[in-house]
């Protein structure tokens, strides 16, 4: 049962433009959402998180939006840089934090 879905396996964006990565979930009990960036042969690196009491969280070039009614979140990267090229995973947990469910990832390529 795929509780967290990233329907776009890949995305290409020109340097300086906005990258929008999307994530959908099915479990209404999820309260906490995270985005990770992953380079090959490395562990996921935390980027930004959002809890269900918010609909937006911003950290520098990264903004996460949460639409609870649609069970959808998105990560915006503005402006995109070539160093942002990586696989991005969204993950979700309920309030206990006992288990995190990961999406399948979106491979972002930022073209110089």
């Amino acid at each position: 049962d795929q509780q967290v879905k990233q329907n776009s396996p890949s995305l290409s964006v020109q340097e300086g433009r906005i990258s929008i990565l999307n994530c959908d979930y099915t479990n209404s009990m999820f309260d906490y959402f995270l985005w990770y960036k992953k380079y090959p042969a490395e562990g996921p690196t935390f980027l930004i998180s959002i809890s269900s009491i918010k609909d937006k969280n911003e950290d520098g070039r990264f903004t996460v939006f949460l639409n609870k009614s649609a069970k959808h979140l998105s990560l915006h990267i503005v402006p995109s840089q070539p160093g942002d090229s990586a696989v991005y995973f969204c993950a979700a947990s309920d309030v206990t934090g006992n288990q995190f469910y990961f999406g399948t990832g979106t491979s972002l390529t930022v073209i110089p």
Binding site: Y32, L34, G97, Q99, F100, T104
Partner: protein, 117 residues
């Protein structure tokens, strides 16, 4: 910057052998996790550990898997009798979860690549 460390970085073993993967979580974190990623697939949750016991485990985490926090700093994953399909990257993560504050992060280690021959 705090970090989670894992050893070894690469482990090669014969099918049927036991392996122990080691992790040193961030010292003041309370929650610990193991994940794995089979090549080309998504990151899969294996088990979470809190207060010296398993909080939750996935269906992947069957009787051949076990976890321990033997000395208050290390967090180990043992696979008793490895199978070919256990070949994957295994990631440890630690977390200092504060409910709904949204200020905490789950830190991952660099991973151990397990190859079962």
């Amino acid at each position: 910057e705090p970090e989670v460390t894992q050893t070894p970085s690469h482990q090669v073993t014969q099918m049927g052998q036991e392996v122990i993967l080691r992790c040193v979580p961030i010292s003041n974190h309370l929650y610990f996790y193991w994940y794995r990623q089979i090549l080309g697939q998504k990151v899969e949750f294996l088990v979470s550990f809190y207060n010296n016991e398993i909080s939750e485990k996935s269906e992947i985490f069957d009787d051949q898997f076990s976890v321990e926090r033997p000395d208050g700093s290390n967090f180990t994953l043992k696979i008793r009798s490895t199978k070919l399909e256990d070949s994957a990257m295994y990631f440890c993560a630690s977390y200092n979860f504060r409910v709904l504050q949204g200020t905490d992060t789950q830190y991952f280690g660099p991973g151990t690549r397990l190859t079962v021959l």
